[in-house]
């Protein structure tokens, strides 16, 4: 299945019945699939909104009413949704937002890139907020994380961002899809706005004029984010045991890097790979622990250097970081990145 279709089907199986979006390449297959799929399901709602801004606010509405809801877009469209994402965080509303990143800034192009790392992990919206950000690297992981994303979004009442890229959205791989959850089995929500008949009325609002109360609200959000940092960090390593240099890459870049590392290992070059799966919370502790054994880190991204800042923050100076990035939608081959890694390896006299 194609990545975009995988994400859409996994969402439906996780109980997503509401999709609001506005078309943009390279994620158009998500609304295409959703328009057909949701029309077959009882209670399924698909709306192609008049704009990205309208679609994210429809997400807010559906989430307030207790539905599992998703929207998707690519770079420029996500920029427009930022205001709504800030509101989702303030109102503590669950939602899943997929960004199949393309080359930027501006309209950029439609080729795969990772230039929205800052946008996803720092948030382009206003106010102190965080979103859970996943960086899947295969269609299978895209299915699993989208599916799980809905559960985590509900658990923490937080928007979950799936940061893919144009390549993940377009490529096809065999996938084992997770089982469909019947809506009745989903845990009940005690905060939704569903009409106050027979119960006291509830409030959901992001305007808190009293600074003391707003501060309290911020602390409440902060404690939630701290819990996520403690419990939800995910990463994986490969060839790490005897590595003298660790490559750190996420998403599709990590797959290209892994292909490169396989080649380098055949030549006896001892490099390993660490791949953050959650981009926020970032696996800082895992990297700090690695730095006890390895002193050289090679960060590869399909942008001009964004995640490398998190790596440096994690290391706090306990390791030497070299960055190599290719922005603009250029797709490097494993051979090309292998050459860059090996030249750095020999420059540092590791082999």
């Amino acid at each position: 299945m194609r990545g975009n279709h995988v994400a859409a089907e996994a969402a439906v199986r996780a109980g997503c019945r509401y999709y609001f979006g506005y078309p943009i390449t390279p994620q158009n297959e998500i609304p295409e699939y959703m328009s057909a799929r949701l029309s077959e399901i009882e209670g399924g709602v698909f709306i192609q909104a008049e704009s990205e801004i309208a679609s994210i606010h429809m997400v807010i509405g559906a989430s307030m009413a207790g539905g599992r809801v998703m929207t998707s877009s690519s770079g420029p469209g996500i920029s427009l949704k930022q205001e709504g994402i800030s509101f989702l965080c303030a109102l503590e509303l669950p939602a899943v937002i997929i960004n199949m990143t393309r080359g930027g800034p501006g309209l950029g192009n439609i080729a795969p890139a990772q230039s929205d790392y800052f946008q996803a992990t720092r948030g382009g919206g206003h106010g102190d907020y965080r979103t859970l950000v996943f960086g899947p690297n295969s269609c299978q992981e895209l299915a699993n994380l989208t599916y799980e994303g809905f559960n985590l979004a509900d658990k923490y009442r937080i928007p979950v961002v799936i940061l893919g890229d144009g390549m993940l959205g377009q490529m096809m791989e065999p996938v084992e899809l997770p089982p469909e959850i019947p809506l009745k089995k989903l845990p009940p929500k005690d905060w939704t706005l569903t009409g106050a008949k027979g119960r006291p009325s509830r409030f959901l609002r992001s305007l808190i004029l009293d600074p003391i109360k707003e501060e309290e609200h911020n602390w409440k959000l902060m404690r939630k984010y701290e819990k996520i940092v403690r419990e939800e960090v995910r990463w994986e390593t490969a060839y790490a045991d005897d590595a003298k240099m660790m490559v750190i890459a996420f998403g599709i870049a990590a797959r290209i890097a892994k292909g490169a590392i396989k080649r380098l290992r055949e030549e006896g070059i001892k490099v390993g790979l660490l791949r953050p799966i959650t981009l926020w919370p970032f696996p800082s502790k895992a990297i700090r622990d690695l730095a006890k054994k390895v002193k050289h880190f090679f960060v590869f991204e399909m942008n001009m250097g964004q995640m490398v800042e998190d790596v440096k923050l994690a290391l706090e100076g306990n390791g030497e970081v070299h960055f190599y990035g290719r922005p603009g939608g250029v797709i490097l081959t494993p051979l090309e990145i292998a050459r860059v890694i090996s030249s750095q390896y020999y420059q540092k006299r590791l082999g």
């Binding site: 490529m171 096809m172 797959r255 797709i331 081959t333 051979l335």
Partner: protein, 178 residues
């Protein structure tokens, strides 16, 4: 085993479809596959290519540095890919549209005159599937039977005539090369 194939041509020549069919056939045979299409914003014209990796082990990268096979449908594709194919690799080229020949001596070249071959088919369509037939004959990545099954699953549901046309195109290509 890890075999990488690049399909390349004009948008509209059915390049992505060839890749998708091959990847699906690989999956049906129980192998690991990735299929990475790449095309411009145009519906027709422009360039399109598709990288398929078929493997019995885990596929790290869906991007191929040095593919074993290149299936080239037009001249710009030949210029782009002839130097990327690994030494000892194979190029299948559409000799109806490609006038140049690779200057490398370390490759096996199969020339398939697709425009002439499709004259034998009703409506003169299905050049990409003719090429695919020739490709699976020589690469032996998947069997003819599997590919016919995949054609049936892909096209048979909507219109049995389309499946029949594609099947005869596949067999025509398969039997063209010795």
């Amino acid at each position: 085993m890890l075999i990488k194939t690049v399909f390349s041509g004009f948008g509209g020549q059915g390049v992505i479809m060839m890749g998708q069919l091959l990847a699906t056939a690989g999956m049906v045979e129980g192998k690991n596959v990735t299929c990475l299409p790449s095309y411009g914003a145009e519906v027709r014209g422009g360039t399109a290519n598709c990288t398929v990796v078929i493997s019995t082990e885990e596929i790290a990268s869906p991007v191929a540095s040095e593919p074993e096979y290149a299936v080239l449908m037009n001249n710009p594709s030949l210029i782009r890919y002839q130097n990327q194919v690994q030494s000892g690799g194979t190029i299948f080229l559409n000799s109806s549209l490609i006038e140049d020949r690779p200057i490398r001596g370390d490759l096996t070249i199969y020339e398939i005159p697709l425009n002439d071959l499709v004259q034998q088919l009703p409506d003169h369509k299905g050049a990409n599937v003719v090429m695919l037939g020739a490709f699976i004959k020589k690469s032996a990545l998947v069997t003819l039977d599997t590919m016919i099954r995949v054609l049936k699953d892909t096209f048979g549901g909507k219109n049995p005539a389309v499946f029949k046309l594609n099947k005869s195109a596949l067999v025509l290509g398969y039997e063209y090369l010795e």
